[in-house]
Symmetry: C2
């Protein structure tokens, strides 16, 4: 049965506005992660404070996206793939909002770490953070462009983020083993790396949803919804 | 403008089926967490293995809930509060599914820990796990019954889960400080406690969504959607 695709101009405009808002939100989340890591590496507590404050904006953006989705659902009553697209947007917005929370957590840890003497120069953490930000951006690009190939790349690249975590963890373990005075600080850095790993996980989750959205129709053909 | 509440009998039945499926999924997630912790405490690798295998069922349940939501949206075209209820279900199902993933992570760590000598009897971890499971259950009860007071209790009780984490963390830190041979094992237990803390966070997130769903209509009266 062919999709009863909605093609009205108003619907297209609303969809474009929704996509733009999601990209804006993702951009905001990427910046929060970047700033939280920069605050730590450059030992700038005021920048960490800015990250913590900027989370309010994320909450507002989530609300905006939700309301845009409700409006499209109530007024346009999309079906089939369009409906799943909106439903996926409702899910994705939570992943992005959660990444904002993670950035706040990193900023809080950074604030603690800045108050203690520097244990070592943090070389791998910014590399890991950049990789996590990049796949977050790509996962959203994949969503708004229904690009399953880019989504697959995100999932592959998430394993690089995981490998970064493993490397950072092992290195810091050697500090902890060497001298117990390093334990507390090394743990904080490990937790920050763990937070970045979760940013990668959220991005991979978004990518999985995109693949399912784009290709799932083929494999899920004949679901109850489509059969009616 | 009054809500155009859907009151058709079919809609009520579909809603009931959706709620039942969400409760089933939550119950499954609670059991996975309980089993993963029991596998660790009772040192039963086969039980940990069962938890890891049972995640497939969670994925299927998520798919079922999603499809139920799509069906309701496409066929009943709910508006106002009913629409927000379905949209919230689409979000909540991801939190529950994520808790299943967390249980798998705990089971994997447990499998590693069981292979090493026991460091200490784990007393607080099961207490923390029980608290996390309870608020997960209560957050879902709050959702299906639109019970904002219960949701508020969940958010209060989540701070107990956070306190448990802090206590476990501090205790394990003393082991690490005492002898570097404990570091690796203590870290694994800390990570498990951190996972349980995240179960609490997910439950609190669900509770927040419930409060917004139940009470948000008052404070958000006059949003664009309602004004039309």
């Amino acid at each position: 049965m062919p999709d009863r695709e909605h093609t009205s101009k108003q619907f297209e405009q609303q969809l474009r506005a929704l996509k733009d808002k999601l990209l804006l939100m993702s951009h905001h989340a990427e910046k929060m992660i970047a700033d939280a890591i920069r605050a730590l590496v450059e030992r700038r507590p005021s920048l960490a404070e800015e990250v913590i404050k900027s989370d309010d904006e994320m909450d507002q953006l989530e609300l905006d996206v939700d309301n845009q989705c409700y409006e499209i659902l109530a007024l346009e009553q999309p079906v089939a793939r369009d409906l799943r697209f909106i439903a996926t947007a409702l899910k994705i917005v939570r992943d992005i909002e959660r990444i904002g929370d993670i950035a706040v957590n990193i900023a809080e840890r950074a604030t603690e770490l800045i108050q203690e003497p520097e244990m070592k120069r943090l070389i791998d953490l910014p590399i890991m953070a950049e990789a996590a930000q990049r796949i977050l951006k790509e996962s959203l690009d994949a969503f708004v462009n229904s690009d399953a190939e880019l989504a697959e790349k995100v999932i592959r690249d998430d394993s690089f983020v995981d490998d970064c975590y493993e490397q950072i963890f092992r290195e810091l373990l050697t500090y902890m083993m060497e001298d117990t005075k390093y334990i507390s600080r090394a743990l904080k850095v490990i937790f920050i790396a763990k937070h970045l790993e979760r940013v990668g996980d959220h991005s991979a989750n978004i990518a999985e949803m995109v693949i399912f959205l784009v290709r799932g129709q083929d494999i899920r053909h004949g679901t109850r919804l489509d059969r009616r």
